[in-house]
Amino acid sequence: MAVTVKIPTQLRGAADGASETQVDGATVKEVLDSLYDRFGELRERISDEDGSLRRFVNIYVSGEDIRFLDGLDTEVNDGAELTILPAVAGG
């Protein structure tokens, strides 16, 4: 299933400058694994050694924070949009 991943400016240097890319996956975890297969350097930027998200990374599926859904197990539909953003903003 094809999902559009939106890549924040801070990570584009590790993604050949891409602002978004299409990858496959049925869950957030699968989408991220597909993303890491394409851009290996992103893995350590986004994920901890145990595979969980780094503390200051927020991920949204169609605008909703995945922590309000099922986290990395959140299902993503074909054509969905997954947005990666820095957590440290606002206030």
Binding site: Q10, I46, D65, L85, G90, G91
Partner: protein
């Protein structure tokens, strides 16, 4: 100037003093780094005199703020005549409030006495000045209301364009007190966290200075001036305890940082204050994490009358938790009814009418006092961040009043003979 570079708070990677806020390596927040060693070369007393000789606004603390070219304006003394100067708000000795709570010494730092009636004028002053140094023509923000007022007003004062993004359900007073300045006001159908996400995305696409996104490292430093002022107003002494509201956690951590900086330089002595954070139960991700012993905050969907504190996904939550724990403090939450009672308590014992956020802070102080957390010998500072006129709905219907014809007879029958009104002058 003492400011030297940006640094990742997590992995310590170094960055230049640009419009950057996130570490590219680990996504951690960037912080401004200073070299203050030259400031105290002439001794602490000389530095105190230098501060005391500065303008009656936050630029008296320019040595501790992240501007490369120094305070705005032709000179430090004249800075109070440019832009929209913030700070130097009253620190009021609140003996009647202290007595009511069984405490000895309580002070109210009334930051509603800023140009747009909240502490946000401090952070926006710094961010807007830095935005001009960096050559931006447009300032912008994601706001729960107070920041909206401040960004719109500062843009008008400085001749910058501005975009202000707010949740669509904001209090009418805050919407009106933003639009009047001629800003481009955008009401977003969603909560603050939705607004913040949109602004984070937009900040990558537009050449604008989002004060609390891409200029956040500079912006946040403005909150330190609250700590400096409190210390200076206490005669270069530290309070024992501060009670501070928490939304993103930035104000809370930067007030603590301000006290620590001055103690490190020798401008003040003694123990750093115990830091108590205040949240509303309808949006208490940081208080929840504190109670559960967690190091990170699980985001929540806000539902509280304290809209200025309604950030469900607090950026500085982990650092606020760390600060509360290290200082021996806590982070507590209060109900909407307690918030209304807090607003009334502060108004009726100090004459200060605060918005809902101040009701949260006052209610948490009352809770700490009732719980016995505060030693009666302590000197406590209550940080009141905003103005009651901005959240009038919170007090509507909380008291009664009588309407009469202009006759002595009606006054006697409708006012003096009714127990609720008789004897209130005592």
């Amino acid at each position: 100037m003492a400011v030297s570079n940006l640094q990742c708070r997590e992995c310590k990677a170094q960055y230049p003093l640009d419009a950057l806020y996130v570490c590219e390596r680990c996504f951690g927040p960037l912080e401004v780094i200073y070299d203050h060693s030259r400031l105290v070369e002439g001794g602490v007393n000389e530095l105190r005199r230098r501060i005391q000789g500065g303008p009656q606004n936050i630029w008296r603390y320019a040595d501790f703020l992240p501007l490369v070219d120094g305070p705005p304006g032709p000179s430090g003394r004249l800075a109070s005549r440019t832009g929209l100067p913030a700070g130097c708000t009253p620190l009021i000795r609140a003996d009647r409030l202290a007595k009511r709570l069984g405490l000895r010494e309580v002070w109210v730092k009334n930051d509603a006495a800023n140009p747009t009636h909240s502490f946000k004028d401090r952070v926006v002053s710094v961010a807007a000045a830095r935005a001009r140094e960096l050559g931006f023509q447009v300032i912008a923000c994601a706001s729960t209301g107070n920041l909206a007022n401040s960004v719109a007003a500062h843009a008008a004062a400085l001749g910058l364009d501005s975009y202000v993004f707010i949740p669509a359900d904001l209090e009418e007073q805050k919407v009106l007190a933003t639009g009047v300045y001629g800003t481009k006001l955008v009401a977003v159908k969603g909560n603050y966290d939705d607004v913040n996400r949109l602004c984070t995305e937009l900040s990558a696409e537009r050449d604008w200075a989002f004060v609390n996104v891409n200029l956040r490292p500079y912006y946040a430093e403005g909150s330190k001036t609250l700590a400096y002022e409190i210390s200076e107003q206490l005669g270069f002494e530290l309070p024992d305890r501060c009670v501070v509201p928490i939304a993103s956690g930035s104000l809370f951590t930067k007030i603590a940082k301000g006290f620590a900086e001055w103690r490190d330089l020798g401008l003040v002595d003694g123990e750093l204050p115990t830091m108590n954070g205040a949240q509303a139960q309808g949006c208490s991700p940081v208080a929840n994490a504190f109670a559960s012993g967690h190091e990170v905050c699980r985001p929540v969907k806000p539902d509280t009358i304290a809209k200025s504190l309604a950030i469900g996904n607090p950026a500085d939550g982990p650092y606020a938790l760390e600060e509360a724990r290290c200082s021996g403090g806590s982070i507590d939450a209060v109900s909407d009814d307690e918030i209304r009672a807090g607003i009334a308590l502060l108004a009726q014992t100090t004459g200060v009418f605060t918005e809902t956020a101040g009701g949260v802070t006052t209610a948490v102080l009352a809770k700490l006092a009732a719980r016995g957390d505060i030693d009666p010998s302590e000197r406590v500072v209550l940080v009141i961040t905003g103005e009651g006129l901005k959240t009038l709905d919170a007090v509507r219907g909380t008291f009664e009043y009588s309407e009469i014809d202009p006759t002595v007879e009606q006054f006697q029958t409708h006012v003096e003979r009714i127990p609720a009104f008789a004897g209130t002058g005592s």
